[in-house]
């Protein structure tokens, strides 16, 4: 806050005026350039397929639920927001009796997807999860399960595993899975 000399006062005034003019020029210029702002929600931003948003449960290429309710996602979850219960159905498949994600707790870290041995649980590029009522952020299995394979198109866990299940209504018996020999005849006499 020193004293202003006459000259410096003049140059300061000049700078101020110049700055104002420059700003006005820039504003004028931007009036004619394309806006960076996306008109959300009318306009959606691009999110990569591997973006970590809303969690879904996918189906295998045969249209069956991929989730075998192994509990690995729940164990990996750092905020413990996944709860599920396994059940065994008559077709030999294990499924989730209930599968619940509390999205009000979820931090979208993607650990569940990493832990999933069957590519069932996947994070999607959907980020629109706002609710007025927190209770609506609790997703049950019917809200999570989609009719598609998600990011992994070919994988079917039961075609690799050794247990006998129905695939497309047909029995996949022992030895029918990929990379499996037919069952051993334990009463055979050959050495």
């Amino acid at each position: 806050m020193g004293k202003f000399s006459k000259q410096s006062t003049v140059s300061a005034a000049f700078d101020m005026i110049f700055s104002q003019l420059r700003t006005m020029a820039l504003v004028l210029k931007h009036t004619f350039t394309k806006a960076d702002t996306v008109e959300y929600p009318e306009q959606k931003p691009y999110l990569a397929p591997r973006y970590r948003g809303r969690i879904v449960l996918t189906r295998d290429p045969d249209g069956e639920e991929r989730c075998v309710a192994c509990n690995l996602c729940a164990a990996a979850c750092p905020v413990d927001c996944i709860a599920l219960q396994q059940t065994v159905d008559d077709d030999g498949r294990k499924r989730a009796d209930f599968f619940r994600i509390n999205f009000s707790r979820c931090i979208f870290c993607g650990f569940c997807e990493e832990a999933c041995p069957t590519y069932a649980i996947q994070l999607t590029p959907d980020i629109e999860l706002a609710e007025y009522d927190r209770q609506n952020l609790v997703y049950e299995k019917e809200h999570l399960l989609i009719n598609g394979v998600g990011k992994y198109h070919d994988y079917s866990f039961y075609r690799h595993s050794g247990i006998a299940v129905d695939i497309n209504g047909e029995r996949k018996a022992k030895g029918d899975a990929q990379q499996e020999k037919p069952p051993i005849d334990i009463k055979g006499l050959m050495p």
Binding site: V138, A164, G175, K181
Partner: protein, 1021 residues
């Protein structure tokens, strides 16, 4: 016992250099056990601390060096290598590490891609070992070998693809547990473990396959049906409530329902194994027959609203009965504390244990035996670690009048190991160590310790026995009396006769007549006298005979005879240490003996008392307060009388039974998985059981209900305790020794977490009910009990009451070695043995006035008519139904082959019955039907029955021949229908239970606990 075993072990320690670090290893066991005892991680599969070594899997390879200059060394299998002083081995060297990794890699070539759907996942020894060796990627690109599975019954599932051929299953099932229907088939890489064909596993120990198998070939079917991972289970240290052995168990809970029971290591009792009744029987807590609401108290309280209990309206309703005088009936199924509290509540002159006159006599005889002869622990019998000079192994086993395979299966498993003592000794004589399992069995395969069996029914031990007789109870008693007399003469002459001399002498004496021996054996048949002579001569030479008997035949005379035999044996000179084991009928029977004295009321006296007050119109009228008791031994008429003559019948019970049907008020009591307390096992050991989860109101613990009744019905406010510890403190203040013992044992500052540190779903499992998280794991209700309903708290292993078994890198139950002082030793934080002091009153002083027998008969007269043509009913129900609670498990009902009756050829001939006929049997005025099987080895007046509706407490009952008759055609149809219906109902119930449990998963009752302070009131301190 544990102290001198471990004390001896100290002496055999030598220094072994592991990776150039000196460690102290015991020479009593192999190198692997020594390495593990020092808490070092060394992978293994086929070795098992209890089964020994066979060297089948090659996984535990280590490098052994000649001396400190040797840098190459050689690979040895540590489980097959004895510990030598100064030996140098390498665990982390490249050669052995690579070898171990390759072994896993080879196993993995055929192991299926199943882990996500495998019930073993998360507690799989194979997973742990794979991670431990560092094998991470399967390089083999060939096809995998597959097998078809077998149906092994309702309890154990089979998934043979997962097998890694460690042979543990067959070594446990066939070699250790003596099962005959399970074996190994095939050759080379096609080895198959299973039965010859599909079918139910016969052994009572098949459930152990689940724990013994290092991977998921054998799985717990009941657990798999409603599965959860081990890391998600909320577990609590508990005690099995299905027999008197008191095996330690770990009960696992998830989403408010009990999922499974696993073995909890107890060095003194169960070790590593449980029986199937204990493992699977816990299912009764989830059964449809459970009582979940209050019945009979006015509608406001009684309405079946789950999770709510209104104390005020309960108090108002119960207050109507405050003018009545109550008789309390305790039970051997309820905890020690609850019985004590009940006795305190009603006063000692109004307290009954629900025993009949006969059972009172029996119990007092039992108490007399226990007071004189300390009972060995199972480990004490077995001497698994059996070196050193002091601890003597049993060289003779005599089973008298108790089918232990039926009443206490875990004891039967121990006896099977005791019988191998002489085989071990034989092998030891040529330098083969006891842990060389395969070598011992090859060298001394058929050698067994002498065994004699004197039973009222056939048992699995008969074939192994040197002598086995099936007799009526009266004959058994005569035999024992003769035996005692023989031994008495023998000992008096101070000459120990070798077997042959004795035999020839007696044979001679029998021939010549007039000799002493003959006069002794004159009451016996030829067969019996031969048996008795043989047993007498073997007994007189044995150093440490083990006599096993029990109460299931309901004969005080038998116990008296055994008492005489024992006192005769104990007279024998120094160095002779006979041991007696008495199997009690229920999990807390011995605890009840503490309350038992000559002033207790028998149930007949209770009936009399009620009738008297009813007929004389006494005021106050007599009412009954019944604690977890079904009085199944009473006849229908007696029950009716009891019901009619008592004013009010208040029943505290967890499962529906005949009393809950006729009671005025039924209060739902927490079952063993939901409650806390102590059971006293057959030895008198006070063992704490803790709740795995809080019961859903109005179900409450028995002592809580009794406390509420004390407050509102008996106006004894001081008996309404806020916690079990306060209850114990109360009794401790009144100078009761047991309470002090219990409290000192419990003293620990630590608060152990019931959940694992990996427990999942905390913020989601109740989110469907409310997204706002409750303070779910309310602590104050249980604040003094040392365990928390949370994942926060101390490690499971910080006390010896471990809720579950886990150690870093060891997720399966094999982790237990990390918490033992050494392999097969006691647990790290093991406290003192907590034995109940059973002191006898002057009543048992024989010199005092009359003999005990007369005094007993005078107090509790029980008429035993003995007429010709009379038949004795002996219980032959299979082990899984030989206890009342397990009747409620549908899987056990499905395993039951149907009502059957075994009769001797003599009766068959006389009445023209033949195998396959349906007979009508009338027992206690109740008609039952059963299929006949003719049994040639039975004596003429014994009838073996296996009837679903006949409770185990009715045994050795005399009936007349009239009570058995051929069923009419209509009755046969009814019988077949009943049998079919039972199966159908069980199937239906199995499905219903699963549906109910799944529904319960969605309404996790934990949310209700937060209301505890408002509604319960009493548990908050």
């Amino acid at each position: 016992m544990s102290d001198d075993v471990s004390g001896k072990m100290q002496n055999n320690r030598v220094t072994v250099y592991i990776d150039d670090v000196p460690y102290q290893l015991s020479t009593d066991n192999n190198l692997l056990a020594g390495v593990l005892s020092n808490k070092l991680n060394l992978p293994y599969f086929c070795w098992h601390p209890s089964l020994g070594s066979v060297g089948a899997c090659r996984q535990c390879a280590v490098t052994q060096y000649m001396d400190e200059n040797d840098s190459r060394g050689r690979l040895v299998m540590s489980c097959m290598t004895p510990v030598v002083d100064g030996m140098r081995i390498g665990l982390t060297d490249k050669a052995s590490a690579k070898f171990r990794q390759q072994v896993i890699a080879a196993m993995m070539t055929n192991h299926p891609h199943d882990c996500p759907v495998c019930a073993e996942g998360g507690e799989c020894h194979l997973q742990d070992m794979t991670v431990m060796t560092g094998h991470s990627a399967r390089q083999y690109r060939g096809e995998k070998r597959t097998f078809t599975n077998q149906y092994l019954g309702e309890l154990v599932g089979h998934e043979m693809n997962r097998c890694i051929t460690c042979y543990r299953c067959v070594r446990f099932y066939k070699d250790y547990a003596g099962g005959k229907d399970f074996d190994v088939f095939g050759s080379r890489n096609q080895v198959y473990f299973g039965r010859q064909k599909d079918g139910v596993l016969e052994s009572a120990f098949s459930g152990n396959l689940v724990e013994v198998c290092p991977t998921g070939v054998f799985t717990n079917k009941l657990f798999s049906a409603h599965y959860t991972r081990k890391w998600d289970l909320q577990s609590a240290p508990s005690v099995c409530a299905h027999c008197s052995i008191g095996c330690n168990t770990s009960i696992g809970e998830r989403y408010g329902s009990v999922r499974r029971v696993m073995n909890r290591y107890n060095h003194e009792l169960n070790g590593y194994f449980l029986c199937d009744r204990g493992r699977f029987g816990i299912g009764f807590v989830n059964s449809m027959a459970r009582i979940r609401t209050i019945k009979g108290v006015n509608s406001k309280v009684g309405e079946p609203s789950v999770g709510v209990f209104n104390e005020k309206s309960f108090a108002k309703a119960i207050n109507e009965h405050s003018g009545e005088s109550f008789i309390g009936i305790g039970s051997a199924r309820a905890s020690f504390e609850a019985n004590r509290l009940l006795k305190c509540l009603v006063g000692k002159e109004n307290f009954s244990l629900g025993y009949t006159n006969l059972e009172m006599q029996l119990a007092l005889r039992h108490k007399q035996l226990l007071a004189q002869y300390p009972q060995q622990s199972l480990t004490g019998m077995e001497h698994r670690v059996h070196q050193g000079s002091e601890a003597k192994e049993h060289d003779l086993v005599v089973l008298i009048g108790e089918n232990i395979a039926q009443t206490a299966p875990r004891l039967a498993l121990t006896i099977k190991q005791v019988l191998r003592n002489s085989a071990r000794d034989k092998a030891d004589s040529i330098g083969v160590k006891h842990w060389q399992d395969s070598a011992v069995r090859t060298y001394a395969g058929n050698t067994t310790t002498p065994l004699f069996s004197l039973q009222a029914q056939q048992s699995e031990f008969d074939q192994q026995a040197n002598g086995a007789l099936i007799l009526s109870v009266a004959q058994i008693i005569t035999c024992i009396d003769c035996l005692t007399a023989m031994l008495q003469t023998e000992f008096n002459s101070h000459v120990v006769l070798p077997l042959k001399t004795l035999q020839s002498k007696t044979v001679a004496s029998v021939n010549q007549g007039g000799s002493r021996q003959e006069s002794i054996t004159k009451d016996l048949s030829d067969q019996e006298s031969k048996f008795t002579l043989l047993l007498a001569s073997t007994l007189s030479q044995a150093k440490t005979p083990l006599i096993v008997t029990g109460l299931s035949l309901k004969s005080p005379q038998l116990l008296h005879a055994i008492d005489n035999l024992m006192s005769c044996l104990s007279q024998k000179s120094h160095g002779f240490a006979p041991e007696l084991t008495v199997v009690a009928p229920e999990c807390n029977s011995v605890g009840n003996l503490h309350f038992l004295n000559e002033h207790n009321l028998s149930i007949e006296q209770v009936i009399e008392y009620c009738s008297a007050s009813y007929h004389e119109n006494k005021i106050p009228r007599t009412s009954l307060l019944i604690l977890e008791q079904d009085l199944a031994q009473l006849s229908a008429q007696q029950l009716q009388q009891l019901r009619q003559h008592c004013k009010t019948m208040i029943v505290l019970e967890h499962t529906n039974n005949q009393l809950t049907k006729m009671a005025d008020i039924v209060l739902p009591v927490a079952a063993v998985s939901e409650s806390n307390g102590h059971f006293v096992n057959y030895q008198g050991r006070l063992q704490r059981f803790s709740s795995a989860h809080i019961a859903v109101k109005p179900i409450m613990e028995n002592w809580v209900w009794l406390g509420l009744l004390a407050k509102h019905l008996f106006t004894q406010q001081e008996l309404n305790f806020a916690s079990l510890t306060q209850l114990q403190l109360f009794f401790a203040k009144h100078g009761e020794a047991w309470a002090l013992q219990v409290l000192t044992c419990q003293q620990q500052n630590r608060r152990v977490a019931r959940q694992t540190h990996r427990a999942s779903g905390r913020t989601a499992m109740t989110a469907n009910q409310s997204v706002h998280e409750n303070k779910t794991f309310l602590e104050n209700s249980n604040s003094q009990e040392g365990l928390r309903y949370s994942m926060e708290g101390d490690d499971a292993n910080s006390s010896h009451n471990m809720p579950y078994t886990w150690a870093p890198a060891w997720n399966s139950n094999q982790a237990i070695f990390q918490h033992q002082q050494e392999v097969n030793g006691v647990l790290n934080h093991q406290g003192n043995e907590n034995l109940l002091n059973l002191s006898l009153s002057v009543f048992f002083d024989d010199t005092h006035e009359a003999s005990v027998e007369d005094k007993l008969d005078k107090l509790w007269p029980c008429k035993v008519f003995k007429r010709d043509g009379e038949l004795t009913i002996i219980q032959n129900i299979p082990w899984f139904l030989a206890e009342q609670q397990s009747h409620n498990l549908p899987e056990f009902v499905l395993m039951f082959a149907g009502n059957s009756i075994e009769i001797s050829t003599e009766i068959t001939r006389k009445n023209g019955y033949c195998t396959g006929d349906i007979l009508k049997i009338t027992i206690n005025e109740q008609q039952m039907f059963a299929k006949v099987r003719v049994n040639k080895s039975l004596t003429k007046n014994v009838v073996l029955v296996s009837l679903f509706d006949l409770p185990m407490s009715i045994n050795n009952l005399n009936i007349t021949a009239k009570n058995i008759s051929k069923a009419t055609t209509e009755e046969v149809t009814v019988f077949q229908q009943v049998e079919g219906d039972r199966r159908k109902t069980a199937q239906q119930e199995k499905a219903d239970i699963l549906i109910r449990l799944k529904k319960q998963d969605q309404t996790v009752p934990i949310t209700f606990f937060s209301d505890e302070s408002k509604s319960g009131g009493n548990t908050n301190g």
